[in-house]
């Protein structure tokens, strides 16, 4: 935290102006690159005698993004989606060349399934699915009345799209690239520094719960964002690709360490609230050397190469210190509680050490050998995807029926646009507003296209004149694209302009066709918006939040039942991804958001404790009754999180107490499981967590006396 103001102080001589100028420079660089890519794509498409250079230009318009890693990632998936989509379109038209009803039905289904598949993936993988859906439409719909041409159509569309992808990739990566990698490095370093700072500054012991919640929110956000960035940067930078496995592992260590850290602080908080100050003080004393290890000279505070050896020495010394502090405690229950904390602290020290060492290895440059392969698992919402399938299918079949019944000559255009936009907007948080803005942009783009088409272009001659004529209009779209407020409008504008312009060589001027086509396209976009009213998007709705919340709690069930192999990594990433999805749609600081945070923290603490308990029980030699008691406790806690209520809370509490008792009777092997069971019990009885609602109020009965 301390490093930020220093940096700011140096560069804030001319604060706003220089910053604005730099931002503007980047924007115009992007505008230049977009126009260059569009014109280059058009020229190449005409030179190669492709049928519709406009498809190539649309591809460029859709793919272009200020960061080259984004463009490459988008292009990669776009290429795959295009190939699969055209094969799908080809197959559909070959299956039903004569039956238009069957064809339109299966086409609607294909597009709908692709849009649904997109909901199950994040990043640009989702985009590949959308593409597979609408490329099938692009390939098959225009030739639906002469099915024999479908093969040529497919070949042409694929060539056009791939050419566009290629040009956009080359231009954005080779001409003054703005590297996403720098952003990744910056945020990875920020993540490291913030975490180390937070761990150091909390040496004093208790952190207020509210502050802890905020820190937790930041940790989750940065873990998910880092994974998103990494997934795009691997396309841009071969070095990052080589280190990709390590960066994944680093993120996992980070998540594991943050969970342990939180569990530890909750434990200390509980001890202090419960009047067990002596134990809490002993744990804080045990924590202090870790804080000292994290505090070298100020200039190397965030240097993992300096921190790693210090942390290792500290972690090695921990058991001896723990023994010394333990001996100073008065009675056996206090020692047991201390053990619970000491195990957590050792785990945290081990994890922060792995995190730091890996960060040091990554910063040093060349990496050798292999590391454990881990994946950042996502928590997906299947019902949300099903609803998207339904909505897209309804939109498409409504349009199909309308087309078939009225014999509308431009029905294909309307359907095409509906396909494109229902796919693109399925995952948008506020699709209706986005579609409306897109529609506005689309109309503007078409107006510009009409202006160019019937007023400017007929007088121009040759490709240079064409480029000069359309460049200013392309610039409008590209510039709007760099303004976050106008992104939707920009997308609509760019597509609408290029699509209605329908550049060809030689150029065809047909006002009747243009206006009819334009009208049909607008109708297609509008219908997509209407469909979002009838079958609303589930993203961010209360219904989806409630279901995701339930899935978050079920992560504990997963932790209690799933095979242990790789479970920790899976648990840490899925629960964070789910939480990030839910919390993104709640207002910060609201009652709902607080409740959510409480549950997420409880899920993390109990889930991790269960996993550790199960691992411990697996590795230990235990007599059958003890094993059964531990299994019963695990199952009871899982049942509580599955559907929390007071009865299940009681059962879980009793089962955990029973397991503790069974382990005590068993002696040495059973005692090793004590810390996890105690942690579980503590978490269950935490009156500051959501569990408070199920706690029996019996012990403090005479409350009416006050």
């Amino acid at each position: 935290m301390a490093a930020v103001p220093e940096d700011m102080a140096v560069s804030s001589r001319r604060p706003r102006f220089a910053e604005a100028l730099a931002g503007e420079g980047r924007a115009w660089l992007f505008v230049g690159k977009s126009v260059l890519a569009s014109c280059l794509a058009a020229w190449l498409a005409m030179w190669l005698h492709l049928e519709q250079p406009s498809t190539t230009m649309i591809t460029v318009a859709i793919v272009m993004h200020p960061h080259s890693g984004m463009v490459l990632a988008k292009s990669f998936y776009r290429a795959i989606g295009t190939v699969i989509g055209s094969l799908g379109g080809l197959a559909l038209l070959c299956l039903f060349p004569q039956q238009r009803e069957l064809f339109l039905f299966s086409m609607s289904l294909w597009v709908a399934l692709c849009a649904g598949g997109a909901m199950l993936y994040r990043n640009f993988m989702a985009y590949g699915f959308v593409l597979a859906g609408y490329t099938a439409a692009i390939v098959a719909l225009p030739v639906v009345s002469h099915p024999l041409d479908v093969f040529d159509s497919a070949l042409m569309r694929v060539s056009e799209v791939l050419l566009g992808v290629f040009v956009a990739g080359v231009v954005s990566d080779a001409v003054f690239p703005e590297r996403l990698r720098d952003l990744l490095r910056q945020s990875a370093r920020g993540q490291f520094a913030r975490f180390i700072d937070f761990a150091r500054d909390s040496t004093g012991g208790a952190i207020p719960r509210a502050e802890m919640e905020q820190a937790y929110l930041r940790f989750v956000r940065s873990a998910v964002q880092l994974e998103d960035l990494r997934a795009s940067v691997i396309f841009e930078d071969p070095e990052v690709r080589v280190r990709s496995a390590r960066m994944r592992l680093l993120n996992q260590h980070y998540m594991a360490a943050s969970t342990s850290f939180q569990s530890l602080h909750h434990l200390i908080n509980r001890l202090q609230r419960g009047g067990r100050g002596a134990v809490a003080d002993a744990l804080i004393a045990l924590y202090r050397p870790l804080g000292a290890a994290l505090s070298p000279a100020p200039e190397s505070r965030h240097d993992p190469a300096v921190l790693a050896p210090r942390l290792r020495a500290c972690a090695d010394a921990l058991p001896a210190q723990a023994d010394a502090l333990r001996a100073g405690l008065p009675d056996e229950p206090a020692r047991l509680e201390f053990d619970t904390g000491a195990v957590l602290l050792r785990r945290f020290a081990g994890e922060i050490l792995s995190f730091t060492e890996l960060e040091a290895a990554l910063r040093k440059g060349r990496v050798h050998g292999n590391v454990e392969r881990v994946h950042f698992r996502r928590g997906n919402d299947r019902a949300g995807a099903a609803i998207t399938v339904l909505r897209t299918f309804l939109t498409m079949s409504t349009l199909s029926v309308f087309w078939v019944v009225t014999g509308w000559p431009f029905g294909a255009s309307a359907m095409l646009l509906a396909t494109v936009f229902s796919g693109l907007f399925a995952a948008a948080p506020n699709p209706f507003a986005s579609t409306f803005e897109m529609l506005l942009g689309y109309a503007l783009g078409m107006a510009s296209a009409v202006l160019v088409l019937f007023w400017l272009l007929p007088g121009s001659d040759g490709f240079a004149m064409l480029a000069v004529t359309i460049a200013p209009f392309l610039m409008i779209g590209a510039y709007l694209n760099t303004r976050p407020r106008w992104v939707s409008v920009a997308g609509g504008y760019a597509i609408g302009f290029v699509y209605l312009l329908a550049l060809k060589n030689p150029m065809a001027y047909d006002p009747v066709r243009s206006f009819n086509d334009g009208l049909a396209q607008l109708a297609g976009v509008a219908l997509t918006g209407v469909a979002f009213v009838f079958v609303p998007s589930v993203i961010g709705s209360g219904w989806q939040r409630a279901r995701q919340m339930r899935r978050l709690r079920q992560q504990v069930v997963e932790a209690a039942t799933a095979p242990l192999q790789g479970l920790t990594w899976r648990f840490e990433s899925v629960s964070r991804d789910l939480f990030q999805q839910v919390v993104a749609h709640t207002r910060a600081g609201s009652e709902e958001s607080r409740g959510l945070l409480g549950w997420a923290l409880a899920v993390h603490e109990c889930g991790r404790a269960l996993i550790e308990l199960r691992t411990g029980a697996r590795d230990a030699v235990l007599p059958a009754p003890v094993r059964a008691a531990v299994a019963a406790a695990t199952a009871a806690v899982a049942a509580l999180f599955d559907a929390p209520d007071a009865v299940r809370w009681n059962r879980a509490d009793e089962a955990v107490a029973g397991a503790i008792e069974a382990c005590t009777r068993d002696g040495a092997a059973g005692l090793a499981l004590h810390p996890y069971l105690h942690q579980l019990r503590g978490a269950l009885r935490d009156d500051a967590s959501p569990m408070a609602a199920y706690l029996p109020t019996a012990p403090t009965e005479p409350s009416h006396a006050s």
Partner: protein
């Protein structure tokens, strides 16, 4: 190598398979170079990669189709 080859009854330019193979080769080479850290000594890595691919594809195309 012929100018056009029949692929499942469809005529495909002979350069197309060469292009695909060069892409695969490039991907392999890219990973190796990334591993050995060569890109750190290059002024403009994307341009270098593009040129490398151009050279690879051009060479293969000329050798095979000339």
């Amino acid at each position: 190598m012929p100018r056009e080859i029949a692929f499942a009854g469809v005529l495909v330019p002979g350069l197309f398979p060469v292009f695909v193979v060069s892409l695969l080769l490039m991907w392999l080479l890219d990973t190796l170079l990334g591993h050995s850290g060569v890109y750190r000594h290059v002024w403009h890595p994307p341009l270098f990669r593009l040129a490398l691919f151009g050279g690879l594809f051009g060479l293969a195309g000329l050798l095979l189709l000339h």
